[in-house]
């Protein structure tokens, strides 16, 4: 499996979008750093404030989009280049190929959140703040990476299932990302609608945000009291996201196996 994962990374060589991912993870903090420098994060330490903004706002917008598009690149690659037949007759099974591609998504997710942390450190240094709790932030970055990568798997089902163009995959990914983001930041706090409550309790982005917000908002503040009913413990978040991710994984394998038979 390690060789397969290694090969999946080699296949991404010279793909400009991967460089864009790294670049965007480094560039996205710039406007947030500007906000922090202007004192728009209240009494928080600049580094803490910048990191929280990045992990709670930049990551939910950027990461699912990036993972969806790279997922499409990885899964369409064999179809577009007629290489699936070469792999299957080695023999490498369809589930091994699909699993390797999904592992790559986890690595990229991890890379993105770690670069985000790195750029937050740079922003913190620019803002002249104390760089405290770096290990704690690294753990949060890793957990966030795992949760978002798992939370993106439902979109990979659609990409694999419909097996269409990149434009279709991009539109689908953006819709999924924006839908999750809207629910996380507005829907769950502004509506008592039961459907909304169900959606914000099962969809990955709102669920992850309900855990992240509990860490970001300072205890004892009015904001904390107002948001407290919506907070979720990490265990519940992991359970919810992994149930959805697990179902998605098996669906992806099943669909990919079926496509293997049509080589």
């Amino acid at each position: 499996m390690l060789d397969l994962v290694k090969c999946e990374f080699w296949k991404l060589k010279r793909k400009k979008f991967v460089l864009f991912v790294i670049f965007s993870a480094l560039l996205f903090p710039i406007p947030f750093t500007a906000l922090v420098l202007k004192g728009n994060v209240g009494d928080l330490n600049a580094f803490d404030g910048l990191y929280d903004l990045l992990i709670c706002m930049a990551v939910p917008v950027m990461l699912p989009c990036i993972l969806g598009i790279i997922g499409a690149m990885l899964f369409y690659m064999e179809r577009d280049n007629a290489t699936l037949k070469n792999l299957i007759a080695i023999p490498v099974s369809a589930w091994e190929i699909a699993t390797a591609k999904i592992i790559v998504l986890y690595f990229i997710s991890f890379l993105f959140t770690c670069i985000t942390l790195f750029s937050a450190i740079i922003g913190g240094i620019i803002a002249g703040s104390d760089l405290g709790n770096i290990w704690n932030k690294l753990i949060t970055a890793i957990i966030t990476a795992i949760l978002y990568a798992t939370g993106t798997l439902p979109i990979i089902i659609a990409i694999v299932k419909f097996n269409r163009s990149y434009i279709f995959a991009v539109i689908l990914t953006f819709f999924y990302t924006m839908f999750g983001f809207s629910l996380a930041f507005t829907g769950q706090f502004t509506s008592d609608n039961q459907v909304m409550k169900v959606l914000t309790s099962i969809l990955p982005t709102p669920v992850i945000y309900r855990w992240q917000a509990s860490r970001m908002i300072e205890q004892g503040t009015t904001a904390f009291e107002n948001w407290q009913p919506y907070f979720l413990k990490l265990g519940i978040v992991v359970f919810t996201v992994f149930i959805l991710g697990g179902i998605s994984y098996f669906a992806i394998i099943k669909i990919y196996k079926k496509q293997e038979g049509q080589v």
């Binding site: 060789d3 397969l4 290694k6 090969c7 080699w10 296949k11 060589k13 010279r14 793909k15 690659m77 280049n81 007629a82 290489t83 699936l84 037949k85 070469n86 792999l87 299957i88 007759a89 080695i90 023999p91 490498v92 038979g261 080589v263």
Partner: protein
């Protein structure tokens, strides 16, 4: 141990109501080149895909080295090199990078395997040119390099000369022949070009509409299709004596007690028949067969389509 490297038993692939391959029984012998000849759409590629486990047969069985493929894929497939349909590689990578991916997945132990494979097909090692910038001929060569890189015992090559220029065709032909004669590889090759198969193959299977029409050695097929006079007489032993005595002719083949072939078309048929009758023989058939190998294939497959 089976005497065949590949053996199929009633191999069938059905899409909907249409049979792409129907009850196919092919037999590929060790150390020989087997040419699967058929028109476009005859079922050659589907057959090869089933031999590699890329497509599951609707019914029937594939046996490779005496073992059923279905339950032994992990054991059998690594011993096979293949080229199926168009060459499939990653366009953003170079030839070396592409081969490195497959070498890694195959667990190719030799460090020089990639270089050797590229050298054999005449492609540069560690060249900076990307696969997307390759010509069709270069792509085809790279696909052949991939097929041989892990030094397989059996090669399954689907139309390997597609896209090659005349010099390239000659090179690949000689290369395939060397693989068989010098390295003892067993090769199954498909083509719709009769001349290619005739130049390369030791054994030939003619496939049409998914069914195997003939399976014989090239020598047997050539004998069937050669120019000759065919006689059906009351006694071939006596007829042979007359030919030797009256016409000083020894270039004939006796098939059975009544049928024989005369390979020298220089003697008028009428004179021979007269001699036979005068010597008390009954002649029930006497005709000239002037069928070329191509005519023969056309007749067998029922028309055009084989170049």
């Amino acid at each position: 141990m089976s005497k065949y490297v590949i053996e199929t038993k009633n191999l069938t692939k059905q899409y909907g109501t249409q049979k792409s391959v129907a009850d196919l029984n092919i037999h590929v012998k060790q150390g020989r080149i087997y040419g699967l000849l058929g028109r476009n759409g005859a079922g050659k590629t589907t057959t090869m895909k089933m031999l590699l486990g890329l497509t599951q047969p609707t019914s029937g069985e594939v046996t490779i080295w005496g073992q059923p493929l279905r339950t032994n894929e992990k054991k059998l497939l690594p011993r096979i090199g293949y080229l199926i349909e168009s060459p499939g590689f990653y366009p953003n990578l170079t030839a070396t990078e592409n081969l490195r991916i497959f070498a890694t997945l195959r667990g190719v132990p030799s460090r020089n395997a990639i270089k050797n494979a590229l050298d054999l097909v005449g492609l540069p090692y560690k060249d900076k040119k990307l696969f997307s910038q390759y010509s069709l001929g270069m792509k085809q060569r790279l696909a052949i390099a991939l097929a041989i890189m892990h030094d397989p015992e059996l090669l399954i090559l689907d139309e390997p000369i597609n896209g090659l220029d005349p010099i390239g065709i000659a090179e690949v032909r000689s290369f395939i022949r060397d693989l068989c004669t010098e390295r003892g590889k067993t090769i199954l090759i498909s083509s719709h070009i009769l001349s290619e198969i005739a130049l390369l193959a030791d054994d030939i299977g003619i496939i049409d509409h998914g069914a195997l029409l003939e399976e014989e050695s090239l020598a047997e097929l050539e004998a069937k299709s050669s120019r000759h006079i065919r006689f059906t007489v009351s006694s071939t032993t006596q007829a042979a004596r007359i030919l030797e005595r009256n016409f000083h002719e020894t270039q004939f083949t006796i098939q059975d007690d009544y049928k024989m072939r005369l390979h020298n078309l220089g003697i008028p048929v009428g004179e021979i028949v007269t001699a036979f009758v005068e010597n008390g023989l009954t002649v029930s058939e006497a005709y000239v067969c002037e069928e070329s190998l191509e005519d023969y294939f056309k007749r067998v497959t029922g028309g055009e389509g084989i170049a």
